[in-house]
């Protein structure tokens, strides 16, 4: 709390310019203003706008080159070998570009990033069938086993940045996010998934009327439809960081796994190929640079 306290002027006290100036200067001293000496609602958009008190920068761009009505789409084939090649949404034309000086995110700042798009995963047949990942040997109720997949497979859209220069030629995942480029098959531990969106790759379930006390003997394969997907990320860095641009890349298909007691998503090349793909239309990528307080 900030209070401005000056002794009162008493009869007989000297009144001079210096004294009066000191009193009036007290009201404009650095750090003197806070909520204790302002009425509720006294600081509003006119006082905040352009003064960098809360928001320092904001920018947005369309994301992707498809159209909203799905007439044209971007198509990402699933990986057939490890690691998956990163596909940049928009092919380089829909990045967030922060200019020649970039945005410098200080330790007292936060960078908030949001993205959304429309996605449709397509899988032909059951390339994930036994003995591939996700195969479950469910009791079929007749002394045998039934192959029902757990459907824990997904595409990954993750955020990348360039902290090198405005040439935007050195993209790396943002802090807290992995790039799925290491391991065999390539994988990423779930403790490095701070800036990603996942899209389910396929869906099947025990057919209605066929589940009986933990057993099933038939399944329903449901074709995935268009769905809205969105993601968010925020960074309050431990040291000042200059960022020149942001982009969103896609890789897949991955499946859930656990190794050495650590959960992860690992590449699932059994469902790789041109007929196992992800279609994208268009959305938006936006970033806000703000002070933490």
């Amino acid at each position: 709390m900030s209070r401005i306290i000056q002794d009162r002027i008493n009869p007989g006290a000297a009144i001079d310019a210096g004294d009066l100036n000191t009193r009036f200067t007290a009201y404009s001293q650095p750090g003197a203003l806070d909520l204790a000496n302002h009425a509720a609602g006294s600081v509003d958009l006119p006082q905040v706008r352009g003064q960098s008190i809360i928001t320092l920068n904001a920018l947005r761009t369309p994301l992707g080159t498809g159209t909203f009505d799905h007439a044209t789409v971007e198509t990402v084939p699933s990986a057939t070998s490890s690691p998956a090649t990163r596909y940049e949404i928009g092919g380089g034309t829909t990045r967030l570009v922060f200019g020649g000086s970039g945005w410098t995110i200080g330790t007292g700042d936060v960078l908030r990033v949001y993205w959304d798009t429309s996605a449709r995963p397509l899988v032909s047949g059951r390339p994930y069938a036994d003995p591939n990942l996700g195969t479950l040997a469910i009791d079929d109720g007749a002394g045998g086993q039934f192959d029902l997949n757990d459907c824990l497979a997904c595409w990954v859209l993750h955020l990348e940045m360039d902290t090198t220069s405005s040439a935007l030629a050195n993209w790396v995942p943002v802090p807290g996010q992995g790039d799925y480029q290491s391991g065999s098959p390539s994988f990423e531990n779930v403790n490095a998934m701070a800036a990603q969106t996942i899209v389910p790759a396929y869906l099947e379930y025990s057919k209605e009327g066929n589940a009986v006390e933990g057993a099933t003997n038939d399944r329903t394969l449901l074709a995935m439809q268009w769905g809205g997907v969105s993601g968010c990320y925020w960074l309050n860095p431990t040291s000042s960081t200059t960022i020149y641009g942001l982009r969103v890349v896609v890789t897949g298909i991955y499946h859930a796994a656990v190794a050495a007691a650590q959960n992860r998503l690992e590449l699932f090349t059994a469902v790789g190929g041109a007929s196992q793909k992800l279609e994208l239309t268009t959305g938006q990528l936006s970033a806000i640079h703000q002070r933490m307080g």
């Binding site: 900030s2 401005i4 000056q6 002027i9 009869p11 007989g12 009144i15 009193r23 009201y27 650095p30 750090g31 203003l33 806070d34 909520l35 000496n37 302002h38 009425a39 609602g41 006294s42 006082q47 706008r49 990942l133 479950l136 469910i138 002394g143 086993q145 757990d150 459907c151 824990l152 807290g176 779930v190 403790n191 490095a192 998934m193 701070a194 990603q196 969106t197 996942i198 869906l203 379930y205 025990s206 057919k207 209605e208 589940a211 009986v212 933990g214 099933t216 969105s230 993601g231 968010c232 309050n236 860095p237 431990t238 859930a256 796994a257 656990v258 190794a259 650590q262 002070r291 307080g293």
Partner: protein
């Protein structure tokens, strides 16, 4: 409407101490009660506004320092719900929620303390990802109703629900839950909670019943890649 001036100085006027005192007090009063129409637009900047005077943010992350980013928690389980972590599952599923270790109800995945919250409007964003097993969402063989699987999500502030969502119903899906409201001053505790659909009558809960026990437990759901951001706007 408020006025800055109580006494207007005139040329050749006799100076009195109380006239100056009244003027100063009027000015001080005016500063503490200025409204938005009277506050000069350019009178505020980061140099003369105290930190957290107008707004304040709290973000998860930063532990350990070598791993930046906003995920909550620490170490190898950063960003995950850690209440239920089965060690009896399959290698090609997450070590997570099973129907052997979770029977239903709301659980708190993360607790955040908004230290120094001074009262005002609070906005909270929670982003993350969900994995769930949809295989037995239709369990109507014995005329039981279907049992659609979903990971419900809610944010509680000081024990009061700020926002609640039906949550994720896809086998692998991302979510963002956003809530806001007016809250009183204090070090508010925010709880990020989830609730998964309980088992239906016909759900399979083990990998197979044909091999000798113990049979691997089927993963039913998990919550991972979680991060939260809280923003307070004070005046």
């Amino acid at each position: 409407m408020k006025y800055w001036t109580q006494h207007q100085a005139r040329t050749s006027q006799t100076t009195e101490a109380d006239q100056l005192n009244a003027e100063m007090q009027a000015s001080q009063s005016a500063i503490t009660t200025l409204d938005r129409t009277q506050t000069p637009q350019l009178s505020y900047s980061p140099t003369n506004v105290k930190p957290y005077a107008l707004h304040q943010m709290w973000a998860t992350g930063g532990a350990p320092a070598s791993l930046q980013g906003p995920l909550w928690g620490t170490g190898t389980t950063r960003g995950e719900q850690t209440q239920y972590r089965s060690t009896s599952g399959l290698a090609a599923q997450f070590a997570a929620i099973t129907y052997q270790n979770y029977s239903g109800g709301w659980e708190t995945a993360h607790t955040q303390t908004l230290a120094g919250f001074r009262g005002g409007h609070l906005h909270i964003e929670w982003g993350g990802q969900v994995a769930l097993f949809p295989g037995f969402q239709q369990t109507s063989n014995n005329y039981h109703p279907a049992n659609p699987k979903r990971m419900q999500l809610r944010i509680q502030v000081a024990g009061v629900t700020m926002v609640e969502r039906l949550g994720v119903a896809r086998s692998m899906g991302s979510f963002r839950v956003v809530g806001g409201g007016l809250f009183p001053q204090g070090d508010l505790q925010v709880e990020y909670q989830w609730r998964y659909t309980p088992a239906g009558q016909d759900d399979a809960i083990v990998f197979t019943t044909l091999t000798p026990a113990p049979n691997p437990h089927l993963m039913q759901a998990h919550l991972f890649g979680n991060k939260v951001l809280a923003i307070a706007r004070y005046r």
